[in-house]
């Protein structure tokens, strides 16, 4: 088989259907060879369009797609050496598992014996050997996904494109198949580009998470970076796990002082080197929900440099390993603390209790 690395470079990639609105709007991105990359965003954000353009099922209006150093504009999917796994798998209903998997070899004119031999190897890899003679209608969702994966992988692509591959499965199977995808990706050692609107799926799987909104990339980076250090309010809210507050800058010094809302206490933020803020600016800041500590209002003041916001408990949800406590800290916005289960039940709160939501200065981050 031809050699070729599966690194992808998107340069100024744009797509418009009506000439007015850009579904994909000047996207620049580099995906290294052998990476697991997840495009994450709500429906209609252009993530599937990007995938289809990489696959060669749609042509970009502007910009370039370079795979393995080769501009693939105008090339057929097979020439690009990409393969796609469709959202509902698109298995051919009239062909058995074996014939579905061998389809790509059949259209290349391989003899029946040759292509069945290759299909047999592939079926072993994805543990489908026993189901070789079944038709897609007689397979479960997870089995169908494995067939789709094997059918795409048999073309020996350098890039595998997955369009919401887990959305057709039920919750339990989704977690299971998620691991299977990751395992296959390691085994095949090729680049996976996966489109999803589920943030859990993205951060669990991806080496690189690309968060999108309205055809533009909001943030791209390792899953942990994007989750722990969201660049702006959109990313923070979409990935979840963060409380987002806004306020007016009151004082800029060693740290930064913000008055969150009238009659709230001061919030101190340690400033990054690149952050540029001036007194009077309105800024957003994020604090991880699991960085919040709750103390009773009569337990004495917070430690030096820490922020303490008086809040009332509005709801409590038991989540197993932690307890989700919802507070009215910020008017009209969600403010949630994730308290480890043991900590919570040492001194449980009730709905209506008045507390202080505290975090130390280094925990809050300024958003763009």
């Amino acid at each position: 088989m031809r050699a070729g690395s599966g690194d992808i470079e998107l340069a100024g990639l744009s797509k418009t259907y009506d000439g007015v609105t850009n579904v994909v709007d000047g996207v620049n991105l580099k995906i290294p060879d052998g990476a697991y990359c997840c495009f994450l965003g709500p429906s209609g954000c252009g993530k599937t369009t990007i995938l289809r353009m990489i696959a060669g099922h749609e042509e970009p209006t502007a910009g370039e797609i370079v795979i393995g150093g080769e501009n693939v504009a105008g090339m057929a999917p097979v020439e690009r050496r990409t393969a796609m796994m469709f959202q509902s798998y698109a298995l051919f209903p009239h062909l058995t598992v074996r014939d579905n998997i061998a389809f790509a070899l059949r259209v290349r004119g391989q003899s029946r014996a040759d292509r069945y031999r290759a299909a047999e190897l592939m079926m072993e890899k994805v543990r489908l050997t026993e189901l070789a003679d079944r038709l897609p209608a007689n397979l479960s969702g997870g089995q169908q996904q494995r067939v789709a994966l094997a059918r795409a992988a048999i073309t020996e692509p350098r890039v595998l494109l997955l369009d919401e591959p887990l959305s057709a499965l039920d919750e339990q199977l989704r977690v299971q198949m998620r691991q299977e995808l990751r395992r296959m990706q390691r085994e095949l050692g090729i680049t996976f580009v996966h489109v999803t609107h589920t943030q859990l799926e993205a951060i669990a799987l991806a080496d690189i998470v690309v968060v999108m909104e309205k055809g533009k990339i909001k943030q791209a980076g390792p899953a942990r970076d994007v989750y722990a250090h969201p660049r702006d309010r959109y990313v923070a809210e979409f990935l979840g796990g963060q409380n987002v507050l806004s306020g007016k800058v009151e004082k800029v010094g060693e740290g930064l002082v913000v008055l969150s809302q009238p009659n709230r206490s001061e919030i101190q933020i340690r400033l990054g080197t690149d952050a540029r803020v001036a007194v009077g600016d309105r800024i957003d800041l994020a604090v991880r929900r699991d960085d919040i500590e709750l103390v009773r209002a009569d337990a004495g003041g917070p430690a030096d440099g820490a922020t303490a916001l008086p809040s009332r408990v509005t709801a409590i949800e038991y989540q197993g390993s932690f307890v989700k406590v919802m507070l009215d800290t910020v008017p009209d916005e969600d403010f949630v603390a994730y308290i480890p289960e043991r900590t919570f039940f040492r001194d449980p709160f009730n709905v209506g209790d008045v507390l202080l939501a505290t975090w130390s200065a280094g925990r809050a981050r300024v958003l763009a």
């Binding site: 099922h57 999917p77 097979v78 469709f86 389809f103 790509a104 007689n138 059918r151």
Partner: protein, 297 residues
Amino acid sequence: MTVVLGETDMPMIRTRRIPAVTRADRRPWTFYALATVFILYVVALYGPMICIYILSFQDIRGGLVFPMKGRSLHWFIDLFTQVRTGDVKGSFDRSIKLAVLVTVVTLVVSLMAGLAFRRRFFGDSVVFYLMIGSLVAPGLVLGLGTGLLFQWVGISPTWYTSALGAQLSWTLPFGVLVMFAVMSRFDSVWEEAARDLGATRWQTIRLVVIPVLAPGLVAVALFGFTLSYDEFARTLQTAGSLNTLPLEIWSMTLNVTSPSLYALGTVTTIVSFIIIGACIGAIIAINKRRGVRATGH
């Protein structure tokens, strides 16, 4: 004529099974009222034909009306041996050949139209309504016009030219409408997947589109065949000097006054049933192979 096809060829497109009726302890009186209506309907529908089948099995003394006189296959033998009863064998032959021709053309054109009409194109609604127009045009007039046109152009009308054309004006719109229904369940993502796996356009049609649509294509073929085999109005003025079977039967009703006419009715019905049975069998076989009714494991 041959058989009431309209009643028999629709249900076979369905693959769903009606769930078994849960037996109620007491049925309401409306059940018996509606059941009576239905039985009367079935009797009215099939009774006349059954009369003809029964009367065709009389012996040599047989007449055209009840009571039944003896039992034999005399009139069937008479049908195929006696010249005075008309050119049954020749017309049957022509009808089958014509029906096969019509079926092939209907199938190919309907498939292509079904694929084409998935997208909007310039003049698509005009094409569609022109097609429906030929469906509602009175058959006799249309046949007459076709015959006249052929004569004017200078081609003598025959069953395989003008009659073929006239019949297609009837079977094609039907075929295309059935094809629309069939295509509504076809997901174009299969074509995209085939392309993604390196199939050419022709390979996609041959290896994916046609096999996936196969049950629907059998249905279209059945429509084409039975509509043609049974066609009278459009063929009357376009068949030229040699009759098709329906024309032959019609001319026989004018001059043959023996139960061999009924025997012919029985034979043509049997042929129809064999063809319908074969098609339904094919569809069931295809669906069974695909495990349509089987559930996932």
